[in-house]
Symmetry: C2
Subunit: 468 residues, 2 copies
Amino acid sequence: MTGTRSHWLPDRWINHAKRPGVAYRAQINHNEMMQGGRLYRANVLHTPRPDRFEIVERGYVHVDAQGYVTGVYGELPAGLGECEVEDFGDTLLIPAMNDLHVHAPQYRNQGMAMDLELLPWLSTYTFPEEARYSDRRYAEVMYRRFVRDLWRHGTMRASIFATIHKETAELLATILDEAGMGGLIGVVGMDTGCPDNLRNSTEEVVNDTLSLIDHTSGMPLVSAIVTPRFVPSCSCHMLTELGKTAQRYRIPVQSHLSENQGEVALVRKLFPDSSCYGAVYDRFGLFGQTPTLMAHCCYTDGEELELMKKNHVFVVHCPISNCDLGSGIAPIRRFLDAGLPVALGSDMAGGHDLSLFRVMQSAIQMSKLLYARTEGEWSFLSLSEAFHLATKSGGAFFGKVGCFEPGYSFDALVIDDSELNRHDDGLAGSAYTVRQRMERYIYLGDDRQIVHRFCQGREITEPRLSDL
Amino acid sequence: MTGTRSHWLPDRWINHAKRPGVAYRAQINHNEMMQGGRLYRANVLHTPRPDRFEIVERGYVHVDAQGYVTGVYGELPAGLGECEVEDFGDTLLIPAMNDLHVHAPQYRNQGMAMDLELLPWLSTYTFPEEARYSDRRYAEVMYRRFVRDLWRHGTMRASIFATIHKETAELLATILDEAGMGGLIGVVGMDTGCPDNLRNSTEEVVNDTLSLIDHTSGMPLVSAIVTPRFVPSCSCHMLTELGKTAQRYRIPVQSHLSENQGEVALVRKLFPDSSCYGAVYDRFGLFGQTPTLMAHCCYTDGEELELMKKNHVFVVHCPISNCDLGSGIAPIRRFLDAGLPVALGSDMAGGHDLSLFRVMQSAIQMSKLLYARTEGEWSFLSLSEAFHLATKSGGAFFGKVGCFEPGYSFDALVIDDSELNRHDDGLAGSAYTVRQRMERYIYLGDDRQIVHRFCQGREITEPRLSDL
């Protein structure tokens, strides 16, 4: 039933990781790369490893003509005389944000309707809003706002739930592609426990997913992802066929896992012979048989954790959502200790905030509450660990994305934080270090300080809104 | 030792609740009040009671010449022909924010240095920074930035810890008074377990507090508050004399209580004969003998809770700080059920954010985590409850502050949230209600949307920064 299980080899999933850095790197040698391209100068920060920031003050990042980083330099590198240099002054140059779990059609509900927990919240607020996305005009207004807001907050790549509606899911892909941003978009499959106007058949969701693959085939950074809503809203037939589709077309999977105690109990009741919630996805070939994102994992433990590790399933940690919906706190330290891949997600509109910087804050805060609850046994996330989750760790799902090591896509933000630190002017001994400025931006900054955004080497300007 | 215990009668604490509304209301009859003054028109929202917002769409608030509200009206009230009307259009008109716990001299550390928990954090980051406030020039730059940022975030009144330095604490009072904003300011007392350059004697802190009372005597909205840092940093002699000072001069008290497990254990060791941490303050007359604010209370329970209730001690809930420092989650639902007065505090720089709107968010989120942990036994805070904490409940410490009922000080914010909701334009059936707009502002808004600020009836313009 689950099809052929293969080891998870990120570089081989070329469909979702379009133009992966590794494949590209093989085609061209270093000297050729250093000819041409561009140099960007600023205070460069990134996290090749989670345990600390690598910082080059007033350094240079060289980006080749295809949009890949060739290196970070403390001094102007030799042999780059032909290169244009763009000097961003005393700003921070950091990798762009990757949001690995977000519901585009909940845009209107952002920051409201948070008086219920997960299951009643879905039926009361979420489903009625998603039903509106059969209307192309409505979807265009909202999806353009959504993409503009991703851009505003410095998120250059996202893994996105659309709705059951193929036509508007394709529209979302077009909008994201036109903006020059990257992402995975899923037509949602749901045929159980949902209102009639939000129900699709197995045949529909499979065909619509294939149609989305076709629709995005010419898009360099946007592609399709198999998206069963979650176990309680899908029949076994739908789960079976979605698993087959993922494997046949070698495309990734996204869904929800162990978010809420009520939901976990419901799945246990629906599948009493499965050892855990994750094992249900696994039996249908939706749990790491192709690259897989599972959002939340608040109650993942024991066997489920082991299965995720074995199958290299990504945990997408959505701490703001987990607070806003009263779900609980995911044990991220345990996942990291076990070597699981972990990304961050806004889960808008379960979470009220699209900013991955706020998600980082929340991830650190939640880890500190677990630190308090375990009386210090579980260390809390450091700032560089949280930053790594939002950049390189999450970016890995898109290929070589999320840091400035050679071969990585130049997805970047330029942060002009001068207004946040102006009181240091002229006060002896009180200037912030670059590391402190990064921390202060993450905690105190917002979209006002993001002055340039790049995705795959291209500067991304503000996406246009609907003319409607 | 504890001096004379009296019942807590807010209206009689005239020193800290300067020009209280009740006293004022007794002097003048309704008709006289309605002559003159000003009318403000907008969508009016406030929370006279915590369980719901009172909303008057496109309503009027009448404010008399002394800055007190006389009433909220749905239609232009009769007999107000002489009154100027200021129409703010389709904005939200709400009470201003009250921050009942904030450390002004930690301004520079905001949003950084959060890799330690309370006790090592104090010695590593906080004390060295506070030592700089012996320098008047440094203090002026930083305190002016701090007051400007309170203003920016819509906080019109605050209860503030300064440092041990009298001269710069007085400077802070002057800056706040010049801005037209309200607050209580404390010269911090600490003589134990602190560096030599941050130690004052009992005589010094008592005299400096009296000096601050004198300094603020001509200020309509700013006064002094007795401020022992917390039990572990004060000798019995200092606590004794500060308790006596509070009662002799009838001024309020602020300190910290049961923030962190390590701190609670330390106090238990220091005072093994006291039944709880709060009982230590109580034996020194610093626990409700005059109006008292106790920040945090994460581990307050049983006898301590009963003592706070009996003495009408305010809990100041600082959820952002409690997360940032890994302290734990205060059981606010339990406090509210017991009838304790509860306010909100930013606790900057223990907390990274000065915005009380963000503190509201965090308070709701933390209550949802307790809801999850108690499997629904403890209901989470509703939006109106959180709003009530930041406005009327906290404002009560300053007198009649925090709502628009007759006799209350007109402390208000005008929120132009049009940019947050622009995608509703022209989409049939999708306009947000005023209540939803309020929720979305609290979750999604920031200082950009606050377009007018009032304190005691006066519009407060941006406080000037230092010329230095």
